[in-house]
Symmetry: C2
């Protein structure tokens, strides 16, 4: 949808401008293994501090492992379950808090896992898929259900699939879906000269 494009004062890369986080998924279209491979390769090649690649991912493909998918689905918040019932693939990114090379704490693990997660979202956009990342899930339940080791922190639950008409959504979710995308003014987040002093562009 045209009104889904990022509104920017100068043009940005089309892939970055097009990526957004829809909720209307097509329950009838699966994600192929080749598409999945591309999503995971994109994450794999994300940058990371000291090249530690501190992320691990769990993947649930409804068409191959309906039981695993259902267990993941049941970790989601009630609001997210409303629309995730149509999602063919769920993933969970986890951030490893210990550097592989030194055994010391890696304070960039969550930051770097975010970079891998965005890589998945952008690769999905390239493939004509959609991605919606969620923080709204029970992380303790997910950890217990899938034996996530203590040194890994569950980060984003990620829905992947094809876009459908907003009409597949319940009324409340549909209103969210149709709302114009927005961001806070650039001046409130990007500083030059001193903290809080807006960059002059």
């Amino acid at each position: 949808m045209e009104n889904r494009l990022a509104q920017t004062r100068v043009p940005i890369d089309a892939l970055l401008a097009r990526r957004w986080s829809p909720r209307a998924f097509d329950s009838g279209r699966a994600v192929s293994r080749e598409q999945l491979a591309a999503l995971l390769e994109a994450a794999r090649w994300a940058p990371s501090c000291n090249g530690d690649e501190p992320w691990c991912y769990l993947v649930w493909d409804r068409g191959r492992d309906a039981q695993g998918w259902q267990k993941a689905f049941e970790c989601l918040s009630e609001n997210n379950r409303k629309w995730c019932k149509n999602v063919p693939v769920l993933m969970l990114s986890c951030a490893g808090s210990i550097f592989g090379h030194s055994g010391k704490p890696n304070r960039f693990a969550q930051h770097d896992t975010g970079m891998a997660d965005l890589s998945i979202a952008l690769q999905a956009t390239t493939l004509g898929l959609i991605v919606h990342q969620m923080g709204g899930y029970d992380a303790a339940k997910a950890r217990a259900a899938f034996d996530v080791p203590e040194e890994y922190t569950p980060m984003a639950m990620i829905a992947v699939g094809y876009e459908a008409s907003p009409d597949v959504l319940d009324d409340e979710t549909k209103q969210k879906e149709l709302k114009a995308r927005s961001r806070k003014p650039l001046e409130t987040r990007f500083f030059e000269g001193a903290w809080g002093k807006a960059v002059e562009l």
Copy 2:
């Protein structure tokens, strides 16, 4: 350079495949304000949990604020200073730990700041610029020097500029620059069915 491309089992988006983290910067070429605007807009439109946009950035443009740039430069580790001496623009991303809408802790702040940082790196790649993110700097020194508020955590120090020949680097850094890029096998990070069980692709 051709051997800088990500090596993947299936093709990934060209922008994702081309992005890497060079150290050889051209000291003679500045980043324009319009380019800077595009980098910041890319970060601004990154996704975030609850749309909180938990990131703030400090920007130091050597051509406009040599003193600020120098102060930022002096926060870098000795190894990073070796090549950052040629960098025209430095930035620091900071992650805000408190949700704006609720005043409660935002456990996704660092993750989401990572997504904004990768957006900058990808937008730079589109523009023909290069970006190198660093964890190697003194965060306490940066906090004190630039009055970073307590609720913000300094994350990545980001070098932005134009690529130069690796010959501008000292010998040790040049060896790092010319090394083939690599990642751990996909099977060690991406699981399906159970933690540690590789996705079958």
